[in-house]
């Protein structure tokens, strides 16, 4: 029975495995190795290795942590591994072992271990700790460090190691969706873990304002003061919203002084540099920038790819490299939007039960990607003509053959709906037609889409071609 089970597993893996994908190859090799050696041996020698790349000439490069591993692989496991990869394909000719830098190994390891997680949308993402307002989902483990934010990251580490001393206050600023909230919350979570007895509190400046006005109204301003002064680490998000709220600013100023004097760490985040926040008291500005002010700039494409891969892996979906690259480069917006895209892919993957390929991703991400405004009418005409297999020229002609009329109407509809071109100019560009003709075509397609699902699907497919 057991043998049968193993045999079946092997068959399944073989049938679905992508031989050219180093990660899948390595996972397959692991399942095979695990059967042939003791678990102690397996844990010791195979936990921290991986396939780095598959060479053009059929050489598989396996990355190992140190010389010890390299020697031992050569001595003990070489024949076994060679036999396994030969079973996969005769294209693999040899195995070479290389000692790989520590940093490169770690992210790989994480994605592999997280890759087989439960395929379920976890609810705990929305869980927030009541006593300190921190969302446990934001940790440094899930925080991707790249060149765009490593200064902020290091400053955060120092602030945790020596709270209240080195960088007090720590002021983190950057455009929306760059990971400010993640970073400041991660600091809070890490701080809580490292110094169990101490008190952390996270809040947005908006909450602070509401709290203050409530306290003033209820005549409990003193209790308000005491409440905030007891914390060892205070994190205030989005302080730019304090602008024009003079009384609250004054309260924050006093709170700041009280905490700073007792060497309590304070962390602020904002969407702009302290000096650039409008309508905020000068003395508060000075205090914001008195410690360390670091900015998080726009993530570079490599970091975006790491982020996409990591977010997907957290949900237990492994994306192929071209999908990751597509997602990371298609949208130049914030990390938050990137996360939204990944969530949508994950959702699709869960419905279908397997990781989506690039075409499906294009399809499902249509709602995220804004069509390029610069796309030419000619380009749209060409694509649509190609899709329907007709001559591009015929679109511009006066012909009323059915196979041409439909595509022409679809083009008009797309140009109007997706690219917001005016009816008259659509008419002129498509062979000097009257704008009422264009209006009629658009209305017609719009009506038909509702009842004709195959037409709706066609248009959906064309849209994915245009992205």
């Amino acid at each position: 029975m057991l043998v049968l089970q193993i045999f079946r597993n092997k068959r399944i893996i073989e049938s679905t495995m992508d031989k050219g994908n180093p990660r899948e190859l390595w996972e397959y090799m692991l399942t095979q190795v695990e059967l042939s050696i003791s678990s102690a041996n397996f844990n010791t020698w195979f936990r921290s290795s991986f396939v780095v790349k598959i060479g053009e000439d059929g050489v598989v490069y396996i990355g190992v942590p140190s010389q010890f591993f390299k020697d031992w692989y050569l001595k003990k496991f070489h024949t076994l591994l060679l036999k396994i990869i030969r079973d996969v394909s005769y294209e693999f000719r040899n195995i070479e072992y290389m000692i790989v830098k520590d940093e490169r190994r770690k992210p790989m390891k994480e994605t592999v271990s997280a890759g087989r997680g439960a395929l379920e949308l976890p609810l705990h993402e929305f869980y927030i700790n009541k006593s300190d307002n921190l969302n446990p989902r934001y940790t440094f483990d899930t925080f991707v460090v790249g060149s765009f934010n490593d200064l902020a990251y290091s400053a955060a580490q120092v602030a945790i190691q020596r709270p209240g001393i080195t960088y007090n206050p720590l002021f983190i600023y950057g455009d929306t969706g760059r990971g400010k909230t993640h970073l400041v919350q991660a600091i809070g979570n890490q701080y809580k873990k490292q110094y169990p007895g101490r008190k952390v509190y996270y809040l947005t400046s908006e909450k602070f304002v509401v709290d203050y006005t409530d306290a003033v109204q209820a005549g409990t301003a003193n209790r308000f003061k005491d409440k905030y002064r007891q914390y060892d680490l205070l994190i205030m998000d989005d302080v730019q919203f304090l602008s024009k709220k003079d009384k609250t600013q004054e309260e924050l100023f006093h709170l700041f002084n009280a905490l700073h004097d007792t060497n309590k760490q304070i962390i602020f985040s904002s969407d702009r540099a302290p000096v650039a926040i409008p309508d905020i008291a000068e003395r508060l500005k000075g205090r914001f920038s008195s410690g360390m002010a670091v900015d998080i700039s726009e993530p570079d494409p490599e970091s975006r790819m790491v982020i996409v891969r990591k977010k997907a892996a957290l949900h237990g979906v492994i994306l192929s490299d071209d999908v990751v690259e597509y997602v990371a480069t298609t949208l130049t917006g914030s990390i938050r939007e990137l996360e939204g895209m990944v969530n949508s892919i994950v959702c699709h993957a869960q419905v279908k039960g397997l990781a989506p390929d690039i075409a499906e991703v294009r399809q499902s991400l249509r709602s995220f990607t804004r069509p390029q405004k610069s796309i030419s009418v000619k380009n749209v005409v060409g694509r649509v003509a190609e899709f329907y297999g007709i001559n591009e020229e015929s679109i511009y002609e006066k012909t009323r053959r059915r196979e041409v009329v439909r595509p022409r109407q679809v083009i008009m509809y797309l140009l109007r709906e997706d690219f917001r071109i005016s009816y008259p100019s659509i008419g002129t560009k498509l062979g000097g037609r009257d704008h009422t003709t264009v209006i009629h075509s658009c209305e017609k397609i719009k009506r038909e889409i509702v009842v004709d699902t195959s037409l709706a699907k066609e248009i959906q497919n064309i849209r994915s071609l245009l992205v």
């Binding site: 942590p65 140190s66 010389q67 010890f68 190691q161 001393i165």
Partner: protein, 366 residues
Amino acid sequence: MNISIEKKIFSEAVYKVARFAERKSSTLPALSSILILAGDDGIKMRATNLETGIDLKLEGICMSEGVVAIPATLLQQIAGSLVGEGKITLEHSGDVISLTSGTSKSAIKTVPYDDFPSIPFPENPKKNILLPGVLLRTLFSSIAACASPSTIRPELASLYFAVEGGLLTVVATDSFRLAEKKVPLSNKGIQGTFLIPAKNALEIAQALPDGDVTISFDEHQCAFVSSQGMIVSRLTSAAYPDYRQIIPKDSIVEAVVLRKDFETALKRTTIFADSFQKVSLSFDPKRKHLVLFAKNSDIGESSESLSAQILGSDLNLSFNHRFLSTVFSLTTSESISLTAAGIGRPIIIKGVGDNSLLYLISPMNQ
């Protein structure tokens, strides 16, 4: 296998080798064992945790050859209980080894040694430097304390070795303080740098012999070879930060104090340091005083003036007292010089007449 070794040699060897064995029990049993080999090239003990490894030669009589692996903790306990002069005999038959010393006799179950990994030697050991083991030992044990205890940044948790122009420079920093020590080398013309994990360096320091040691290194591995055997360690593969940038080039005040005075004054002042371990140093060039001051709201406060040679202007800086006291283990000079470059800038501490050491501490916020 049948070998006979002096008790003292045996205990010392076990003590040295056992620290290289794996302490976690979850891995291969062979990794938490000591391998004893008796063969043509004498008796050897080996242990490795796949980060570091040791291969130690022992003096003894080898009656018959063989290989055996014995759990390290067990062997350590036995070695610790050996007293007096005399020899210990190890005889191996089947999967049991019997230890006989004087009137006692114990039989130990051995571990299969097939799984015991080979100890790798650097692939291309062209880069060799020769140093006395005593020197290397003090270098490791003093400097390694300044490396970062956290492994978040592996390069900071390592010692940086740079060989250039017949000079070996060893650096460690945890980003709050930095120690740099220079040692002249006998063989010139070799160049290279490597990073050895500070944790490994500390263990190696305990096992290095007094005599000459050859350090061979390549990209991933380094070996310490002596007449008694070989110790290898994995190297950190990362780029070390350009630490020279942070060393201030100018100074506004310099003080020279007697080491003895400074040490006792610091010890006393430290009692009053607060939870941030803050001790402040005031340079007073007019009265030629260096004042140490610490205040703790729960205990009280203390200040101490040392007579010192001070040149420059008034300055007051605060430091973590632990970082200050580290300097005493780094130098043996009778007098210590402190050079400050201003508020918020690091201070440089050196031993007077000891050009090999440079110790730098970042001040705390006032």
